[in-house]
Symmetry: C2
Amino acid sequence: MAGAWRTAARPKNAHQSQLLRLLRDDGPRSRAELGDVLRMSRSELAADIDRLIALGLVEPAAARGGRRIVRLSPSLRFVGIDIGATSIDVAVTSGDLEILGHRALPYDVRHGPRAVLETALEMLGKLRSEGVASEIHGAGIGVPGPVSFCDGKAVAPPIMPGWCGFPIRETMSQELGCPVLVDNDVNVMALGELTAGLARSNDFLFVKIGTGIGCGIVVGGSVYRGRSGCAGDIGHIRVDDSGPLCACGHTGCLEAYFGGAALARDATAAARADRSRFLAERLAANGELTAADVTDAVAAGDATAVRMVREGGRHVGRVLADLVIFFNPGLVVIAGGVAGLGHTLLAEIRGVVHRRSPAPATANLPIVLSELGDAAGVIGGARLISDHVFSSGSRGWT
Amino acid sequence: MAGAWRTAARPKNAHQSQLLRLLRDDGPRSRAELGDVLRMSRSELAADIDRLIALGLVEPAAARGGRRIVRLSPSLRFVGIDIGATSIDVAVTSGDLEILGHRALPYDVRHGPRAVLETALEMLGKLRSEGVASEIHGAGIGVPGPVSFCDGKAVAPPIMPGWCGFPIRETMSQELGCPVLVDNDVNVMALGELTAGLARSNDFLFVKIGTGIGCGIVVGGSVYRGRSGCAGDIGHIRVDDSGPLCACGHTGCLEAYFGGAALARDATAAARADRSRFLAERLAANGELTAADVTDAVAAGDATAVRMVREGGRHVGRVLADLVIFFNPGLVVIAGGVAGLGHTLLAEIRGVVHRRSPAPATANLPIVLSELGDAAGVIGGARLISDHVFSSGSRGWT
């Protein structure tokens, strides 16, 4: 079964591809509507639909009022796998990317690729045993580090020891017997936002502030990865030449000013210098401080913590202001663990961007917090692979 | 004739559109090759080619060794019109965007839209009378100011008094009886670079340093304009909050540091403060200084002028370093009058970008001077409209 899929079940041309995406994004449609939207004659459309039915991707649904309805095959199943630094999320979706089952597990990515991917496969096995999927038509995987998208491998990922060069896509394709794509987690989450989140624009920026800071760039509804796949690596934009040392070896990178690691560092310094009673007590109790402690301190109204977050928001805002002028996005979405700082952070970012970017770029520009939480990564993974499976762009699945 | 064109002669679907672009960019091809590249059966391809022949867009050429060759119709003609601050360029191209005739005239854009567009039409009339075109299949126009691309009008253009809101596209469509598109000159020149210049990448930045500074962003071979059409307005990225006042009302914009206007201002100050003998003499002789005087001073080895250009290059380089991290382009092209400063400027920009951007984004990143000169705008205009005429994306031509 898997073998047959590998070579056959892809749309053959651009029309079939458009047709599948239309049914995925807008739901079942009548043949008359499809012909109108795709600007195809009845006979051309019939030939394409017949082929997609033969492939098992599409099926005729009950006629409504004489209209002959077409829909995606209800047996289509995509898988999204979101590998985080300390967690694995696995979900199965329908062809139109509704989540049919979702499992989450705390798991350290430092256990290495074999252990992590085996665990993900076990989680998927449990979902399948619950009956949400039999055949799987594709899987999209996000990992917390730089990825060579066309190779399906992580490239020198700083927080993923043992993963560099491991053939993630190839391994998972063989295990699952279906097409697999692997991308950086921020890019995958941006696609999740596009699919199920607040993104009503096809051109937007998805800024994830976690331990580090990265940006997913969506252009015309697709992720823009740049020439060598590292577009959006905004954590290393230089805020100030004489700023703090960054893990990358340069000084003054945005990430060295803000993000989870920088917040933990600054919180520890503030606690030790007795500038925050809240943080000093937390440090005494736990022996170390994390970004989550800063979030708690802000919630408790600690003035030093609030000032740290405001300063960080100003740095992020300055970088985003420049990117908004350059990219003129329709929306900016802020996500990631540090986004848990919520409106204190958001207000600062909004203020700086609107103050520094000229009016045409920022007029009506929404800057919002993501509301998808853990679902962004798995929905994005399913979206990534469905875009691929529904495309006619390349032969086969590698 | 024009009327028939307006409603009929557009490709009907994505395949026909792909086919036309392939013939434009790669030249005549055999039916067998086209079927392979477009992944179409012989009968599907034959139907599409028949339709394009009937529309007069394509024609069969002499068979070569039994291969049935297809080519763009040799009677296809596109027009590129490049309206500068003080010049008009008009060219006629073949369907594959070779320039068949080109005229240039010094003309001040401040004469207003009617006088400028009438002059451009006269220039085109002369080219037609020389026999380079009878029917015209589309015209692309670049203007030196912000444009609402979907309206075909300039929007509050600072150096184009009388143009704001004037229906450029509508007026020229009616005069020419063919599809017309209007865009900002930097975007149009970027397309010219993509078509006939150094751009071997489909994802690149085209930075024009003239009186002001703007950037054309090319993604996947098309201009990315952003949500409200002002993407790439990088002259107003803030270099330093406490910098010089910009024409836009903010302080410290890149344009307030560098570009033709800033150079003229700084050169005048240097001359008056006796920091440059060359510039002081030029000021005494002419009563004013322009960026061209700075270019001459650099060529003469004037230390103050060289320092001004190096400092300006550093500012441009800092902004570009951030954009290179964000966008990870395959190429950066520098153009515009100030690019006449050549390698003094280029060396400074290259040095800063490579020093400040992490290795993956800048490894093998070429930063080059455009070599197209005045041809960039007219070839880009022809490319812009041919992309439109060859697309099936919208019904009709508005």
